[in-house]
Structures are given as structure tokens and as C-alpha cells.
């Protein structure tokens, strides 16, 4: 989103409550925020609630925005908190800190699912069915991994920015990211493995 925000946005005008400037911010940032919420929650109505609440809160608190983080990082942090609040309402047992102990334990070599699907043609890799499979696999990730993965690999934040949004250390972000990527790779390998077997028959 950082690239999408107009560089000429005036913090002074935003802080002063300038509605036209706020409308420019909403225009530039609403797409990425909605996408993040939709992929975190997999429910268009919930995603829309998160979208609206994010900008309502941003507008209320803009005068307190001190510029210690970038505007986009700040907005993502509000959106993630809103989405996590909704998830906790749905599943009170879920916590972003769930994997804290595991973070320090590193990741175990999977040693399975070594189907070689890397050379499949582009149209196979990017078909509608594959996209749906990938989105399902993203939904299968536990929330604590999914949010790290979405910020880094879908929203394209750096490791440092992702850590800033989530209030995690960079090493915890890296561990969770690798764990998320390996799980997705694993699910895609099962899916492509089936396709390759069918094709050989």
C-alpha cells in the first residue's frame, strides 16, 4: 500500500481534519485494507465492517498520529486489530500470541510432499481452480501465521514493517512467515500432486 499512497498527502491537513485530504487517503488505502480484511476473515460482510471501522478510527485518531511509523503501517495496525477483535468474538480461544513458545523453537524439516510441480506451465499454476485452492489453503492457516503471511506476501510489507504492525520481534515474524509458507507449499504440493497423477493416467 505504501506505493499506492499519494506522496503529496499532507499530514498537516490530515491532522487538521481536512475532509478532502482524508478522502484522498481513503481512496488510496481502502483497496489494500479491504483485501487484507477479506483474506483474514473470509467473509465479505465482516471485511466491510473492518474496512469501515478502520477508517472511522483513523479519522478519530489522526490528530494523535505522530509519524513514528508510516501512515500505511499505522492503518494496517488498526485494520489488523479490528480483524482480530472480530475473530476473537467468533473464536474466543484464538490469540495472536499463540505461537510465542514455538517461535523460539524454529521450524522442523518437513521431509514430505516433495512433489516437483515447479515446472508446471503458467496456465496450470494460475488457473481459477488453483487460485481458489490457494485461498482455501490460506484460510487453513492458524490466525497467528495467516496475519504474518498476508502482511508480508500479499500486502508486500517488509519484515520490519510486519513486525511493527503486529508488535512482534523480527525473528518471530521470520519464523512465522517460514512456517506459513511451508504449510501453503505443502497444501499446494498435495493439490498439484493429484493433478500430475491424474494427467499421467
Amino acid at each position: 500500500m505504501a506505493e499506492a499512497l499519494p506522496s503529496a498527502l499532507s499530514f498537516a491537513a490530515l491532522r487538521a481534519g481536512d475532509r478532502a485530504e482524508f478522502a484522498r487517503l481513503v481512496d488510496a488505502a481502502s483497496g489494500p485494507i479491504y483485501r487484507l480484511a477479506l483474506k483474514m476473515l473470509a467473509d465479505p460482510q465482516d471485511a466491510e465492517d473492518v474496512l469501515q471501522n478502520t477508517f472511522l478510527k483513523a479519522f478519530q485518531h489522526l490528530d494523535g498520529f505522530e509519524g513514528r511509523s508510516s501512515l500505511s503501517t499505522w492503518l494496517y495496525r488498526i485494520a489488523v486489530n479490528e480483524a482480530l477483535m472480530l475473530l476473537r468474538k467468533r473464536h474466543p480461544e484464538v490469540s495472536i500470541a499463540d505461537d510465542t513458545v514455538e517461535d523460539s523453537e524454529g521450524v522442523t524439516y518437513p521431509g514430505v510432499q516433495l512433489t516437483d510441480w515447479g515446472n508446471l506451465p503458467e496456465e496450470d499454476l494460475l488457473s481459477t481452480e488453483t487460485r481458489s485452492q490457494l485461498n482455501q489453503a490460506i484460510q487453513h492457516l492458524p490466525e497467528s501465521l495467516r496475519v504474518v503471511f498476508l502482511l508480508r506476501d500479499v500486502e508486500d510489507l517488509s519484515i520490519q514493517e510486519t513486525a511493527e504492525v503486529l508488535g512482534l520481534s523480527e525473528s518471530a515474524v521470520k519464523t512465522r512467515l517460514l512456517r506459513a509458507r511451508l504449510r501453503l507449499r505443502d497444501e499446494l504440493s498435495t493439490y498439484y500432486g493429484e493433478r500430475l497423477r491424474k494427467r499421467r493416467k
Partner: protein, 87 residues
């Protein structure tokens, strides 16, 4: 059949994300590449891991647009209807 020893693969695993992102230091990069030359399992794993990341980026590019009705309701909620540009 003897089970393959994956101790070296395990030792390199923590660096694979950085390797796939191209952010790993040169020395570790070369170490991984030497390992990949001799380990077919890791070669496939790294190759498919990179493809997985590529697919995620490609998917992100396909769904960056906000639906027009969602956008219109957002502007209404924020009392910004005057600024709603129709695209």
C-alpha cells in the same frame, strides 16, 4: 531402505525464506546453493517454495480492487460522499 539423513537440510531450513526472498547474505547463499546441488529433496522444496510465494503475489495483484458498492458505503459512512469519484 535407509532413511535419508536430513540434518544438513534442517540446519539450512531457517534461512530458506530469506533465500527465496533474495535477502540472504552471500556466504549463506553460497552454502545453500552448494547443498541444493547435491540434495534433490531440498532443490524441489526451494523451487516449489519460490513458486508458492510467486503465486501468492500473483493472487494479490488480482484482487486489489474494492467493489464499487463497498467503496460507496464506506464513503457514506465516513460522510465523504461529496468526494466519491465514480470510476
Amino acid at each position: 531402505m535407509a532413511k535419508k539423513d536430513h540434518s544438513e537440510c534442517q540446519a539450512l531450513l531457517d534461512s530458506l525464506s530469506d533465500y527465496a526472498d533474495g535477502t540472504l547474505g552471500q556466504e549463506l547463499c553460497q552454502k545453500i546453493e552448494r547443498h541444493l546441488d547435491g540434495c534433490q529433496d531440498c532443490y524441489i522444496m526451494v523451487d516449489t517454495l519460490k513458486k508458492t510465494i510467486y503465486l501468492c503475489h500473483a493472487e494479490a495483484g488480482k484482487c486489489a480492487e474494492i467493489p464499487a458498492d463497498v467503496r460507496a458505503r464506506l464513503f457514506k459512512t465516513l460522510n465523504l460522499e461529496d468526494y466519491l469519484k465514480h470510476e
